[in-house]
Amino acid sequence: MNLRKTWLSVVTVAVALVAAACGGNPSPVSNNPANETGTLTVWLMNGSAPKSVVDGVNADFKTKYPNVTVNVEIQQWGDIGTKLDTAFAGSTPPDVIELGNTLVAKYAAAGALEDISGKKSSFANSGTWLQSLTDSCTVAKKLYCVPYYAGSRAIIYRKDFFTAAGVAPPDSLDGLLTVGQKLMTAHSSDPNFSALYYPGKYWYAALPFVWDFGGDIASQSGGKWQGTLSSSSSQQGLTTLNNMVSKLSRADKTGDEAKQDQAFAQGHVAMIIANGWEVGVITSATGGDPSLADKLGAFPIPSHVSGQTAPVFLGGSDLGVATKSKHQSLANDWIAMLTGSKHMTEMATVGGVIPNTTSMLGLGTGLNAVFYNAAKNSKFVPNSENWANVENANVLPDMLVKIFTGQQKIPDATAAASTRITSILNGGG
């Protein structure tokens, strides 16, 4: 008898729990937001939104939905692909997910993200979103995410080092090499000095060199992808980069860019290729050096053609809603608040990123203006659902390490990488 009672209560509790879990109202938000309940889980990437912005969005959200709890979890970039795969495979993925713009196509094509084509007009500034970010959100003409912010790279340099060595920001790649060599000579007594600090796996910074000479990662024709890093123009770009790295950099040829800001802040580096927001990391009191604030300058990565700039990789992030989310309307509303004009302005002014709309590009002033301008001459990686696999398989970093360490000649390394890229982009492993 007791057993039966216990069993009955277990079933009752289970039913109640299931009902509660489903009770977050998956249908459109009811007329009275105050009646909405539940917990909204948001995954943002490390370093994307300053804490003040997240707190501001959550405060606005709480005002509108007093009974909904928002749980913002900060994720690390390192192994995010693995985490996203497992999260989307589970039955309760996060409701709002920040995705690097190169990752969206993979998850959208696999059905992990909600199709928000019909809701586009409900997001602020959707008519003036940055084209490249909108493209990254669009798969088979459907919209799967909201552009969040962009980032483009330029060269951050030490003005005091330049003045002391009697050099000025160059306007061509040859000029960059000459300036670098003069800086190396001026600092020849410092065995740790790098005129241009370039860690070997830093593939985002290698792309401008490839693109500037007319090369590319891959091209598509007749629905098939073909890796093109082995083309003569791509190889020309990589030869220029390799020459520069061997003469100007003492950074780890097998390392990545994660520590470059700290290395820069230690005072043995004259130039790094970096995002605008990295100025904040270099001058931060924790891990950086605040006294460098007045000594930093920035200039665009020059082209091999004098007076022009090289196209840069337009990085950035988008915000999507999981197909399996039980709070899709709330999730979309949270995204709308974060990407609304009020918080976007703060993202640009406090966070130092490029906002998601062309209507705010005027916000870039001072050093930031250099990065904003760089975004105007930008390119993107192949827009394929399989691109993320190329990234996760480390094809480009591996190729660069082999070139910089001299393990392989440029023609061999680029041929191997091109073959692998062709295979992965066409759906193979």
């Binding site: 989307f88 094509a109 696999a110 065995p191 796996k201 780890d252 097998t254 398989a393 480390n394 492993g429």
Partner: protein, 317 residues
């Protein structure tokens, strides 16, 4: 069945007793072992079966999200067999394992013999150090090793330069994969020594001192005493630790993955890293599973010899 039931009625006594005895001697052992078999089946056979099942399917991200794979038979195995990278990975994994196991056993044996000879205080100190190494979580210790071998700030480069071994300023240990794998062997062996040393030391304590003394009296030198007296007695322990070390070192993952910032280049792929990369890196879970199955098969083949010897020794004992 009817006959079986009615049989005791016709002929009670001896037959029934005999049958009971037969049942007891033949079925009882199975009944007693069945709980263990069920547990082992649950925690080993089931996942292994799932792995094999997964390896026979195309299982990409789309399938992962829909929880529904597409049957492809042996296609995954066919594609890894023709993959030149896979061949390199197998050879590298076997050489890496061999180097790790041999070094671990030699150094651990020397250490355990040393422990027998030293004073009690020293023995306690060494044992404490070994247990400390053993108790340190792998991720933490590998992080420290990574810092020590760091290209820019590593204490190893500083130390070697100060000791005039050569100019190691900005020496990149992972530039050359052979050297890099050498460092990784060092890290793996360092972590493996405590368990093997303590196990061997426990075995050495069981070697009767009178047998050693007798050999000594008969004129055997130190090497002969070890090789002809101590080693044969320790054989079962050697077999077990060799077998376990082979299994652990063949499947090594954490040390390589953490040491190389979660982005090891293909020169550093061992079979576990390769399987992980194919599964989670390129979201080909079926392919990754087939590599893992091959890994299990290679391990079974490699460890078969040790297991057979262990069973033989156990039977003799």
């Amino acid at each position: 069945m009817g006959v079986a039931v009615s049989a005791p009625d016709l002929e009670p006594g001896p037959l029934m007793l005999r049958r009971r005895a037969w049942l007891r001697s033949n079925l009882l052992p199975y009944a007693l072992i069945s709980p263990s078999v069920a547990v082992i089946g649950g925690i080993l056979a089931f996942p292994l079966g799932m792995l094999v099942w997964l390896s026979l399917q195309h299982y990409g991200l789309r399938e992962l999200i829909a929880h529904q794979g597409r049957w492809v038979g042996l296609d995954n195995y066919r594609s890894i067999v023709v993959d030149p990278l896979f061949h390199q990975v197998i050879v590298r994994s076997l050489l890496f394992t061999f180097a790790c196991v041999v070094l671990t056993l030699v150094l651990s044996t020397l250490l355990s013999l040393l422990l027998l000879k030293v004073r009690r205080v020293v023995r306690v100190l060494v044992m404490s150090a070994l247990v400390f190494v053993w108790a340190t979580p792998v991720i933490v210790s590998v992080d420290i090793w990574q810092w020590m071998f760091d290209y820019e700030f590593g204490v190893m480069n500083y130390l070697l330069t100060q000791l005039h071994v050569g100019n190691f300023i900005h020496h990149n240990w992972f530039d050359n994969p052979v050297q890099g794998l050498g460092v990784l062997v060092l890290v793996v062996v360092w972590g493996a020594i405590p368990f093997v040393t303590i196990t061997l030391f426990a075995g050495l304590l069981q070697v009767p001192s009178d047998v050693i003394d007798a050999a000594h009296v008969d004129g055997a030198d130190a090497w002969q005493r070890f090789w002809f007296v101590t080693a044969p007695i320790l054989k079962p322990i050697f077999l077990i630790v060799t077998c376990l070390s082979t299994i652990w070192d063949f499947g090594v993952f954490n040390q390589i993955y953490v040491m190389l910032n979660a982005r090891p280049s293909s020169d550093y792929f061992t079979i576990a890293i390769y399987s992980y990369r194919e599964s989670f890196g390129v979201t080909q879970y079926g392919l990754g599973a087939s590599i893992a199955v091959v890994m299990v098969i290679v391990l079974v083949v490699v460890t078969f010899f040790y297991v057979r010897e262990t069973v033989k020794v156990a039977e003799i004992a």
